[in-house]
């Protein structure tokens, strides 16, 4: 008889990851990266486009763990150095676009769902691999 496991919310995910040992740490890194990915996805449509260099230059990156805590970052490649002038409104148009700010607020307001979706994708991947598919 299959045993059902119920995991609810961020705290549930956190407890489950702690019980999973090395596999949990791997999934934790993926989930933190998933939040950064979600911010990138939300930010890209908000970025003003002329030639599209900036939108193409925004990426999510996993960072080195620090003190057992996973980190990820949203970064802008060097050729779009001017991103901060658009983000903060000190560019030629004088508009504070705030694409990163708006994206971050939106993702963090829904971070439970983002983390849970990322966790479920990771677990489903493990199950597929275990089943040899």
């Amino acid at each position: 008889m299959a045993e059902l496991v119920s995991i609810e919310g961020m705290d549930g995910v956190r407890r489950a990851l702690a019980l999973m040992g090395a596999s949990g740490r791997k999934h934790s890194r993926k989930m933190v990266r998933g939040v950064a990915d979600a911010i990138v996805e939300e930010a890209k449509p908000l970025i003003p486009v002329r030639e599209g260099v900036l939108a193409k230059s925004v990426v999510a990156r996993s960072e080195r763990d620090q003190g057992g805590i996973s980190f990820a970052a949203v970064k802008v490649k060097e050729d779009a150095y001017y991103w901060r002038f658009l983000e903060y409104g000190s560019g030629p148009d004088g508009i504070e676009h705030g694409f990163f700010m708006r994206a971050r607020v939106k993702v963090l307001a829904d971070v439970d769902r983002v983390v849970m979706a990322s966790f479920m994708a990771a677990i489903a991947g493990d199950m597929r691999r275990a089943a040899g598919r």
Partner: protein, 132 residues
């Protein structure tokens, strides 16, 4: 007064209380340049996200305060940012038709602009609930 206006007004009062000049929209000169009195603080991009419980409605918010100054060093801007921090970070700002639960500074940086201008950007985040 709506929640965005109430929050902006609370920040405007808090910044004004420090003696710094505060704008929501920087005045323009006839030639399109800035007619603002430097140094000044501008209330920048503000993002509110509504939350509801059974009994309360409120907002998470993020807001940027831009300190703008001209000169040969960053010191004045750092002093302005410190003044704003003392007046706003974890302070009980008065919000019309609402109660501030918390406001804290999340980040602070200084961007060099052309012609000896600087933009000191501080991002504050917090929550407030509406008075029923």
């Amino acid at each position: 007064m709506g929640p965005e206006e109430a929050l902006a007004s609370a920040l405007f009062d808090a910044v004004g209380g420090t003696g710094l000049t505060c704008y929501q929209v920087v005045p323009q000169a006839r030639d399109g340049g800035a007619a603002a009195e430097f140094p000044y603080v501008r209330i920048g991009r503000m993002v509110l996200t509504e939350w509801d419980t059974k009994t309360e409605t409120g907002f998470d918010f993020a807001v940027r305060l831009h300190s703008r100054w001209r000169g040969g060093s960053r010191t004045l801007g750092q002093q302005m940012q410190a003044t704003l921090f003392a007046a706003i970070h974890l302070q009980p700002l008065s919000i019309d038709n609402g109660t501030l639960l918390e406001i804290r500074r999340e980040s602070s940086e200084i961007i060099d602009l052309a012609d000896g201008e600087f933009d000191g950007v501080c991002e504050y985040r917090g929550q407030f609930e509406l008075t029923p």
